[in-house]
């Protein structure tokens, strides 16, 4: 039981840290990208279509790093492999 609560505690704390740190960098990057795109649209409104499309593709690329962190956090909370392994082990010993 001791191991189980330790694994749960570490998983939850790590999931929080993962999503907190992992969203920090992409947020800064996306902010920079959007501000640059806005100023270039203001300078050249004719090219708005191309700039917007490139902006979306770039934002998707930047965002994927945050999504990786989110997926790792979700794995830690909902389908944690270590938690499941320990639960199986305890179940085998108990049963």
């Amino acid at each position: 039981m001791e191991e189980l609560s330790l694994i749960g505690m570490v998983s939850v704390i790590t999931a929080g840290l993962t999503i907190a740190i992992g969203s920090l960098g992409p947020a800064l990057g996306q902010g920079r990208a959007v501000s640059q795109a806005l100023s270039s649209i203001a300078q050249q409104p004719d090219e708005a279509n191309t700039i917007t499309r490139t902006l979306f593709v770039g934002l998707a690329m930047i965002e994927s790093t945050a999504i990786y962190c989110f997926v790792v956090a979700m794995i830690l909370i909902f389908v944690n492999p270590f938690w499941n392994a320990v639960v199986d082990m305890v179940g085998q010993i108990g049963g």
Binding site: N49, A60, E63, V71
Partner: protein, 235 residues
């Protein structure tokens, strides 16, 4: 709380094979698309009077064609079927999530992986058909042969990124609504769902555009040479 519709099993067939929510809702989306397009394209007209459905479909198809032409600078007809069906499938399966009881099949990693693998195989197929086996393979050693392993890793990692990006976005949308339903069940889930519709459509657009960019990067070298020759011819 389920992390993906894969774990909601409706009918257990045999051993590891079973009918889960992902498959069922994929079939529903496929049936909707096929029947809808069949009903609309049953009696197409070329005159001045067009049915509403035909006008709507023409707008969709011409928009996709224009986008492909702008991205690749090539004839869009070759890519229209593949890119168009990718976009329409993802867009419809994301947009239907306002229907109660519906679980978007794109919120499961198996669907998005399947779509990403389609793109992974479409790139060499289009590339080889455009510029031959030699020309396509020559791209892997393009700046210098040292870049060969990085090009191969890039090919694999962008497929992974394509799958995980779509899955993460759709899954996070439905999970956010589920969490908000437990905390503030009154109005906020609806606002997040509206935001989810926007995200779903943007993700479908991004998936299609990224697939197009990858395919274009595998087919564009010859295009450049051709346009150079044309310029020389003009001079």
């Amino acid at each position: 709380m389920d992390i993906s519709p894969d774990s909601m099993i409706y009918w257990h067939i045999y051993g590891p094979i079973n009918l889960n929510a992902t498959i069922v809702f994929t079939w529903i989306v496929m049936a909707l698309m096929v029947i809808g397009s069949w009903i609309i394209t049953r009696n197409l007209a070329t005159g001045a009077e067009l049915s509403r459905g035909q006008t709507a479909l023409e707008v969709v198809v011409t928009t996709i064609q224009d986008q492909i032409r702008e991205v690749t600078q090539q004839d869009p007809r070759r890519y229209l079927l593949f890119i168009g069906s990718l976009f329409l499938f993802i867009a419809i399966s994301n947009l239907l999530s306002i229907v109660p009881g519906y679980h978007p099949p794109t919120g499961s990693l198996s669907t998005t992986t399947a779509l990403a693998i389609c793109v992974f195989f479409a790139v060499p197929i289009f590339g080889i058909s455009q510029q031959g086996l030699r020309g396509y393979l020559a791209q892997y050693v393009k700046p210098s042969p040292i870049m060969l392993p990085f090009n191969i890793i890039g090919e694999l990692s962008r497929t992974l990124a394509l799958a995980v990006r779509l899955f993460g976005n759709v899954m996070s949308g439905s999970m956010l609504v589920a969490i908000l339903l437990a905390i503030v069940p009154l109005i906020f889930p609806i606002i997040m769902q509206v935001l989810g519709l926007l995200t779903g459509l943007i993700q479908a657009y991004i998936f299609a555009i990224l697939a197009m960019v990858y395919i274009a990067s595998a087919t564009q070298v010859q295009q450049k040479q051709k346009s150079r020759q044309e310029e020389k011819g003009k001079q």
